[in-house]
């Protein structure tokens, strides 16, 4: 697959999803980049901003199997992964696959479930497999978890542990639409005369895999690699941070920068790609010192300050 083809298909996917999610092109491109990079997305924002619609629209546009799991306090791990149930007719235990066996899984309000249930996703998100009754089963690929959480509720929720957060490639916010965009939402709803938005399939699964293979071939210059490492280690050296970003964060930043470059029609990564994606990739991986946490200092500010002080390899070893 050529670079131009990746760009054309990427634009077509985003344009199709944009029929449902209005005025969020930048967000949609980021989500698509995560899908191409083989990562998972944590959407944190207020209710009613279209998080679920975004996930289902992507699944339709990409031609992928989509399942939605509403996380609640009484949700059990088996409700996610499935399990062996007794078939009374045959008298044998049969495997009943849970909703995790889909291409795109929407984990809605993920922080409402207990840590035990949240942990059911760990193996699936990192190793793309599920272990049931000692039997390990591979998940279908591509496999993407789109999780949502509400940032304003503190009661009856279980904040995601760091190990779980680290497995999300990015944490994104949908954000409120502008007045004009909101009016456009109303206008389109009036024209449709129904709530459901018709999103057409744009690519086949095979084509999506070809796009992912192209992303794997995107070149990362050694100085850009050093830049990524400098940013990640910079978060560890910051005195506001108790626990900095992990090497998994470096890998996530590199993989997402490659996908971002591919969607931009390039077969090489620019420092601009890294700089643009540093905040959504790294911020949610940081654990701030209690003082700064009490001062409500955002982890995004820490990443921003690191980005503002780490030199960009414009003039380097090759010049």
């Amino acid at each position: 697959m050529e670079s131009e083809e990746v760009v054309a298909r990427g634009d077509a996917i985003v344009a199709e999803v944009e029929k449902a999610i209005i005025g969020k092109r930048r967000l949609l491109r980021r989500v698509l980049a995560v899908v191409l990079a083989g990562g998972h997305v944590l959407l944190e924002d207020y209710p009613g901003l279209g998080k679920t619609l975004l996930a289902s629209s992507f699944a339709r546009a990409l031609g992928l199997d989509f399942r939605r799991i509403q996380f609640t306090p009484d949700l059990l791990p088996g409700d996610i992964t499935g399990g062996f149930v007794l078939n009374r007719a045959s008298g044998t235990f049969e495997l009943r696959r849970g909703p995790i066996f889909a291409n795109i899984v929407l984990a809605d309000e993920i922080n409402r479930a207990s840590p035990k249930t949240q942990a059911a996703l760990l193996e699936a998100m990192q190793e793309y497999q599920v272990t049931l009754e000692g039997e390990t089963m591979a998940l279908v690929r591509p496999f993407v978890v789109l999780a949502t959480q509400n940032p304003i509720e503190f009661e009856g929720v279980f904040p995601l542990p760091e190990a779980q957060l680290d497995r999300f490639m990015v944490k994104l916010s949908v954000g409120y639409p502008s007045a004009a965009e909101e009016q456009e939402i109303l206008r389109r709803r009036g024209q449709r005369m129904q709530d459901e938005v018709a999103v057409a399939q744009v690519v086949e699964v095979g084509q999506l895999r070809q796009m992912q293979e192209f992303v794997e071939q995107v070149y990362v210059e050694p100085d850009v690699e050093k830049y990524i490492v400098a940013l990640v280690t910079g978060t560890r050296a910051d005195n506001r941070v108790a626990v900095g970003a992990s090497p998994r964060g470096s890998l996530a930043l590199m993989k997402l920068a490659r996908a971002w470059a591919a969607l931009d029609g390039r077969d090489f990564v620019l420092p601009d790609d890294v700089k643009t994606l540093a905040r959504p990739v790294l911020a949610h991986r940081l654990v701030l010192q209690p003082d700064f946490w009490m001062k409500r200092q955002a982890a995004e500010d820490v990443v921003t300050s690191v980005v503002e002080r780490v030199p960009v390899p414009v003039i380097g070893s090759r010049v």
Binding site: F268, L270, D272, K275, P311, V312
Partner: protein
Amino acid sequence: MSERQEQGGRRWRARIATLVAGAAAVAALLFVAGTLPQMRFRRGLGLPGAIDLFRNQRLQPPQFEISPLLLDIVTVLLWVMFLLALIYVFLTPSLRRKLPRLVLRVILLNMIWVLPLLLFILPTETAPEAVLAPEGPAPTPIGGVDNLESPLGSAVPAVDPPPVVTLLLTVLFTAGVAGLASLWWLRRAEPVPESPLDAVSDEAEEALVALRRGERVDDVILRCYRQMGERVAAARGLYRGETATAREFEQQLRTAGLPEEPVEALTRLFEQVRYGTFRPGEAERERAIASLEAIVAACRPKGDQRPLQRPVGLRPEGGSE
């Protein structure tokens, strides 16, 4: 310390160094002027030989001899340096603009070693009595201007002040002139920095010459970009921070008034060469040349109608000069 503060410090150090060199040059010139009362014209010689500046020294036994071999070595070295400088100036067009100022600086700095030389020679001056009444038979005047050596005759004593007084007056006068010059120079307005656009233009011209010399296109693009960044960073108002990417710098150049299309094309080429595996070919070479030419043309002053330096044999077919 920020880069801007460091630049300010460097500018002040250079200014003080130039000031010291200028003061030394003025002092040297005044010392030479201080010997004028001893100057005599000698007939029958060309100008350098006719002005007998160190007549008194000639009357004294020579204090030192300069080896002819040393003079030959110095002469050869000066010629070599002159040729190297000529080649350097010819190959770097941007230096041609700075040449007058550079020559002036070199002259002023060289006056520093002229001064000790004069100080070494001048104190050997003998007393006026000894000059007017040397031991032994007096030289027979032949006529001409030498006859005017003492218009009042031997009965009138010489009116030249003692050497110490001359020296003191010279030093005081030099200090006064140097002080006034310093005050004027230090109080004048900040020197107008080199225009960012001029800096960009210089680098673009240099890159064009490098292209003409046949350097690899990717090397030329990288070198041009690096030099352009350094020069423009030194100029006021167009500072590229260490954390700025090539595209952010491109935006700065656009804001500074450079044409968008060639700047964008050159930046894209730079990105491909710097961060990618792509190796530019003839098409990219042509594109780079065209972009650089456009940047040079856009950076020139309005009245400047000089033709652009176009690489011979690298223009597209039918391209007009």
